[in-house]
Symmetry: C2
Subunit: 587 residues, 2 copies
Amino acid sequence: MSATIEILPLAKKVKVRKKAFLSEALREADVPLSLYCQGRGVCGKCFIEVMDGKLPFFQPGEEELLKRAGLSPAHRLACQFVVESDLRLRIPERSLLGRVSVLEPAFEVQLSFDPVIKKYHVLLPRPEIATAEAELDILLQAIKSVPLRVALPVVQELPAVLNRSGRQVTAVVREGKELMTVEPGDTSAGVYGIAFDLGTTTLAAELVDLASGRTLGREARLNSQAAYGADVVSRISLAFEGPGRAAILRRAVLSDMNRIIRALAASAGLSPDLIQAVSVAGNTAMNHLLLGLPVDSLAVAPFNPVFSTLPDLPASELGLEIHPQGKVYIAPNIRSFVGGDTSAGLAASGFSEGRTTALYLDLGTNGEIVLRKGGKLWATSTAAGPAFEGMNISCGMLALPGAIYKVEADLNGFRCGTVDGAPAKGVCGTGLIDAASLSLERGLLTPQGQVTTASRTIPLTGSLALTQKDIRELQLAAGAVKAGIRMMLEANGLKAGDLEEVMIAGAFGSYLSVEHSIRLGLLPEVEPRLVRFLGNASLAGAKAFLVSFPSRKKAEETAAKIEHFSLASRPAFQEVFVSSLEFRTWK
Amino acid sequence: MSATIEILPLAKKVKVRKKAFLSEALREADVPLSLYCQGRGVCGKCFIEVMDGKLPFFQPGEEELLKRAGLSPAHRLACQFVVESDLRLRIPERSLLGRVSVLEPAFEVQLSFDPVIKKYHVLLPRPEIATAEAELDILLQAIKSVPLRVALPVVQELPAVLNRSGRQVTAVVREGKELMTVEPGDTSAGVYGIAFDLGTTTLAAELVDLASGRTLGREARLNSQAAYGADVVSRISLAFEGPGRAAILRRAVLSDMNRIIRALAASAGLSPDLIQAVSVAGNTAMNHLLLGLPVDSLAVAPFNPVFSTLPDLPASELGLEIHPQGKVYIAPNIRSFVGGDTSAGLAASGFSEGRTTALYLDLGTNGEIVLRKGGKLWATSTAAGPAFEGMNISCGMLALPGAIYKVEADLNGFRCGTVDGAPAKGVCGTGLIDAASLSLERGLLTPQGQVTTASRTIPLTGSLALTQKDIRELQLAAGAVKAGIRMMLEANGLKAGDLEEVMIAGAFGSYLSVEHSIRLGLLPEVEPRLVRFLGNASLAGAKAFLVSFPSRKKAEETAAKIEHFSLASRPAFQEVFVSSLEFRTWK
């Protein structure tokens, strides 16, 4: 009792048992069908065209969806179609599952488009006197949903919304578990979220269209907490002084985030309360401070955090000014010093799923290092300080227009490239690394970090120059990263040459010179083709948590299974660190 | 590969496959074991004593639970015990599943004790530097729980609670889904809830100990909304006038409920914020007004409610002054005029599960009528007015001390029994029915309701007497109920004589005289032994929703499947109603 299904334009043929749903048959044939509403026949996204074979009657609501989609009467929803006979089908492009790439520039990792918030536009039947069903039940039946969590104000306003809209409404459902709100009319195109990378030094964010997976805008600003200390440790120390101080830090970053929310909404011409989901990838200290959690335990042994994974929190409880029922997801922490920024980056890059021996590095104020070997993962963190982000450097700056991001050798000295080609105003992390490496090569700098020029400075361009102190900052930053990588490789019986892949996330983007980094010893000596730049992988992961809901579960599983490689508990660390301060290629 | 298990003191023998958990084996043997923590080995409530057979090693945490319980070393947790060989066991009384009866006076329906909020007392291990696990994860592992929803303040306070208590804490878990709070020390004995019967005229409530299922106290007070109209229709009309009026009604009943909460807590010597769960059984209009939902649709065709089933709501959102994370469950509405009071009563009485042909009547300001036939249920409602509660009767009163609740024939007239034997102050519903029936018998009253005495009053005792208007009120109330029952029976091809059971819930308690009710035509003519009095079944159902969590699901299923028998949509109703106004036994 089977039927043959020929699938165009894929030129595939499959045999399926009769009475099966066509959507199941297509899944077996590996056709990536869009099943936005999980096959409930509500979203109208899986229409297929019947070219040859018996056309079934419409299921309730199906014809309405078909008309709304503007397709011919030969279309049917695959999820409602019971196979009775042989068929020849065409799958329209619009019915294929969307894939999204969250990394920029495009990386080959593609996630299935399955946003955390979904909207269903429905026309509700009028209640009849004989059945007199409850309005909320009529709505749930229309979206074929199980009972959902729902906040009281949504129920209170439901009758008025139905009245105002002639019962044409859009139900907004979060994670298939909560009826967030019911909007009058068809608002299914307008679902928005904001992904945050909550860095110690910089906040970056993207406004994401959850109906399409596209990024609509980007914003970045310095973390105002920086006024209270450049690195994580100084912030924790301040918070340590009392709850009042922690509250100051909390308010500072909340105010930054709310400014970013307003700015992103304004440039897209949206009201901020159209934003219904936020995700935040930040290191453990940053997310603890944001949530108002005590950070004491992050600073003293055994250095454990208060939480690793948390369910979505109400934005209103947190203090973020978005939709009143909006929710905030915090990327899971791996440990105290390997936080949600890393779990987000691992999710975006697919690093946790690979099988080769590989390193994942996120070089910011903290250097996070993840080693993968034989399918197992180890993570650690090392305090690099803000030098890589251009901070604590006399002429340092973020990679903004005018920042020297690239230094090349020139007959007369250095040739400096600036962001946007603007007049040079300062140097950012990648420029600093280039300059130091070239100085080392030219003898302006010893491997021990001594500036050998008469002026005790390394001139870059115009009046910009690096000082002896600047070099020391870089030395400490690079040494910390190098020591972490070295200890982790050694503990697992690995040498630099065993690495098959090195992924680099972080503010550097793809501007980091692999050659210069290897020369300074910041990176282990590997073939440059093995090094891949992810850009801001934390931000990409935060976006993944909005547009591809299953990536949250994956990140939580990764965070739970990853081994913690504690540098702090290893007596050898200080020694390895000191021996890593020299600028020299790894042996 | 099986083993034989002999169970004392039940003198049962069962064969089970080896490697099975003992708890499974005992379930197959129908031993009602207490599995409060669902077999996770956390609660220590399923210890059995091994009399003969191999004693296994302790599982992690098991020895600590054993010591805490003060049992001998021959005890093991049944849910952790893997059967390897033949055994002879003794099941201590304490390990049997508690059963609770929520009806008063004790009715044979027993519910399994499975409270909505459970507490787990645990000693948390200290985090170690090598693993540095998150505090929240350590807690969830100790209670062997999946990740739970948790509000931010609970996470914020977790480290301080752990510190203060030397890591001995009690986790409070709601419905196995939410970590409501973490309390220092062992507070597992102190879990409280309040069940409300939210009547149109009266509010009744019980303080329930969720650790034992016992009722600790009762309170009742008049619904302050009564000042704005005695019946549901007048309240709806007022709310109709504008949101301001609806808000007045809402505040009135909230204030009543908060007074009751404070009173119940005070008499038990508890702080109100120890109350973590509330359940409310009220008719549809009452629960809509309480929740601030529009009641317009309850008053105009098609008379449909806004909701039938709602998930738990935060008490703080609703305005109830209990624990800050406390939740409120609203008994599901069946339809507009058959509400949560009825679904609660059906749950408490087990009426929805019976198989005989039966009637369930809840006679209050509204008369709810449920018919059961062949396993199917039909429900309707009829507006009786407040006469049965002693309201709108010239000398009427609630069944409080001094109320004439019983009238018997006497040579010289009537002999009146009062509540608590106090001097007569007025008459309540059951007294009114007795007096009218006896007056009919003696010719003081015609079947048409005419008072035939010279004074046009029916003297009761002292200066108390019923007026012609009082009799008219009773006539309307009884006629409405009679008409509803008549139409429902007729529509299903039934006669009074077909009824095998009549359950009567409501304020009457067991003081209603079946004989007098039949004589007046309020009840169909059935053998008195078929009539059973449930007392306040709505309140009992509200209690069931606290102490036996599965009863919520059952009530929701009943509410969804019950057929609505709409009197309003039947043209014959007015005629049947008018012909039901005569005081006479059903033919």
